[in-house]
């Protein structure tokens, strides 16, 4: 289980520290997307689609569509941030910038590079969700939402765990796609369908989707966030997020290592 212990070793933290330093240096461009994206999404889905839907029933009670979609937006931001970071940004560092190769000539090993990418994607997703949370506070202050915002900070550690799980999934594709153009395959065949069919922006009650979503961490994440911010069952979905994320990490990180060992080290 040395691959697991490596997550806590200083080398993994050094890799995360490197990514954080780049992020902080580019804060003005890095800050903008998570701040603007929820506003766009809330306008498009909340005001636009919400104009037709107005209210819907959730957990047996009517709620405004805008209020329904806001927690879904946080879950969607977690998923997209972590998966895109581990798909595109990690691929660029591995293939084009050769940052990984430079790190591997030091005391950092491939296990640390992989954990560094996973932990960084989880941390970045959390930072994005914190920024989106701030935007939601402003929107609620404008009277457009009815969320229980006292519990917003509770979402952040859950975001981190789920983000790490999603990143482990993204790294699998990073390890196997031949070129960056091939990223279209996971993006259109998995990421977008998963992002939109997980009850993030609208409730999906088709029996097939309900059955599929039982094993979908993003669905459970959206439901946990709704349970916390709107009021509803949390425990079952929280167990779903934590359990599925742990399972993804336990299965996919060793797989990532195996695939990347071949790709990066040629071993």
């Amino acid at each position: 289980m040395s691959w697991l212990a490596a997550a806590l070793e200083w080398q993994s933290r050094a890799v995360v520290g490197r990514h954080l330093r780049v992020y902080i240096r580019n804060w003005h461009t890095a800050f903008l997307p998570p701040a603007v994206e929820p506003v766009t999404m809330l306008v498009a889905f909340g005001v636009g689609l919400g104009g037709y839907v107005a209210t819907l029933t959730w957990q047996g009670r009517p709620i405004e569509y805008m209020t329904y979609v806001a927690p879904g937006l946080l879950a969607y931001a977690t998923f997209m941030t972590a998966i895109f970071q581990s798909l595109f940004a990690a691929f660029i560092r591995m293939r084009y910038q050769r940052t990984w190769e430079g790190q591997l000539t030091t005391q950092v090993e491939l296990t640390h590079v992989v954990w560094g990418e996973v932990l960084w994607a989880g941390l970045l997703a959390t930072m994005y969700v914190v920024i989106v949370s701030a935007v939601l506070i402003v929107i609620q202050w404008a009277g457009l939402l009815a969320l229980d915002l006292r519990w917003l900070p509770v979402l952040w550690p859950i975001t981190f765990v789920a983000g790490c799980g999603f990143a482990a999934l993204g790294l699998c594709f990073t390890a196997i796609v031949p070129t960056i153009d091939h990223m279209n395959l996971p993006v259109f065949l998995l990421v977008l369908p998963m992002g939109l069919l997980s009850s993030t922006y609208f409730p999906l009650e088709h029996p097939v989707l309900v059955a599929l979503n039982a094993g979908n961490p993003l669905y459970h994440l959206a439901q946990v966030f709704r349970g916390i911010l709107i009021g509803g069952p949390v425990a079952g979905h929280l167990a779903g997020v934590v359990g599925l994320s742990a399972l993804m990490l336990a299965i996919l990180v060793p797989l990532d290592l195996r695939l990347l060992r071949r790709r990066v080290l040629g071993d």
């Binding site: 200083w10 490197r18 910038q97 940052t99 040629g266």
Partner: protein
């Protein structure tokens, strides 16, 4: 006092092929060991095992007395690596590349600010300190790569083809730096395709072919053992007669370069050759490592 590097009986299979087959290599303080061989000889794989990038299937590597397989992290603290391709961090400036690299080592390099300033000065990078590495010329990029490999004060430095693609002036600049590092006590493992570089810089050579060590020692010893004392250069028009003469002595086809045959011969053979072809015009010169490469690449 243990050798800085002591590698024994290294074996590595890649893609089902035995690419390194029982290689031994050692390097002492203030010594440059040139690792040579034609493409596919196993140089890069050997080097990657030595600096901990790949795990050997068999054999042992000790760096500064620490076995790499037992305590990789501790062993790597004593190693600096300058890879063949530029692997600096393009998100940071030249100066930041040095500080970021230092962050990947424990114990952390002491007095880092001074160390970085010293390296920038020494490698003539002061005026580029706040530039991004991609704005540097090829020669300065190599300087940055070597400076980065030294930021944590290693005792053993791996230089994988450090001057490939550089103009002659930049190459000589790198040679001076490497020579200075040896004088300071670093052990250096150098791979290169430039024969003049290997001959001028290396204290000892190890020659690989098909994954095995085929010769080791000084350039002179290696050439004497593998090539011969002299090389006769004769017009390729004389090919059939010369080939027949060589075949009668159980020798294979000579190397052909730009319409000339290059025949490595011992002193005795040279005398026989002169007797056999009294009216032939030919040139006799000393062997070079180019002849060695030609011979190794022609070997079955």
């Amino acid at each position: 006092m243990p050798a800085l590097l002591d590698a024994r009986s290294l074996v590595k299979h890649l893609g089902g092929r035995r690419v390194v087959d029982g290689v031994d290599l050692a390097c002492e303080t203030s010594q440059i060991v040139g690792l040579l061989g034609p493409n596919g000889a196993g140089k890069t794989t050997t080097l990657r095992m030595l600096y901990g990038f790949l795990r050997p299937d068999a054999g042992q590597i000790h760096v500064n007395g620490v076995e790499l397989g037992r305590d990789l992290v501790r062993a790597k603290r004593a190693i600096g690596v300058c890879t063949q391709d530029d692997t600096f961090d393009g998100d940071f400036t030249v100066e930041q590349n040095l500080t970021i690299a230092a962050g990947y080592f424990r114990p952390r390099p002491t007095d880092l600010a001074r160390r970085v300033a010293e390296l920038l000065e020494r490698f003539d990078l002061v005026s580029y300190a706040r530039e991004k590495p991609e704005t540097l010329s090829g020669g300065y990029r190599r300087r940055l790569m070597i400076a980065r490999a030294l930021v944590h004060r290693p005792r053993l430095l791996f230089l994988d083809e450090p001057t490939t693609g550089l103009d002659p002036q930049a190459r000589m600049g790198v040679w001076d730096l490497v020579d200075g590092l040896r004088a300071e006590g670093l052990g250096i493992i150098l791979t290169t395709h430039y024969m003049d570089e290997a001959e001028r810089l290396s204290d000892a050579l190890t020659v690989l072919a098909r994954g095995r060590v085929v010769a080791r020692g000084t350039a002179k010893t290696v050439l004497g053992d593998l090539v011969g004392e002299h090389v006769v250069v004769v017009d390729a028009g004389q090919g059939p007669a010369v080939a027949a003469w060589l075949a009668a002595r159980g020798r294979g086809e000579p190397a052909s370069v730009l319409g000339a045959l290059h025949l490595p011969l011992s002193g005795e053979e040279l005398a026989e050759f002169a007797r056999a072809f009294p009216s032939l015009r030919y040139e006799v010169r000393g062997p070079t490592l180019d002849d060695l490469f030609l011979k190794l690449s022609l070997a079955p």
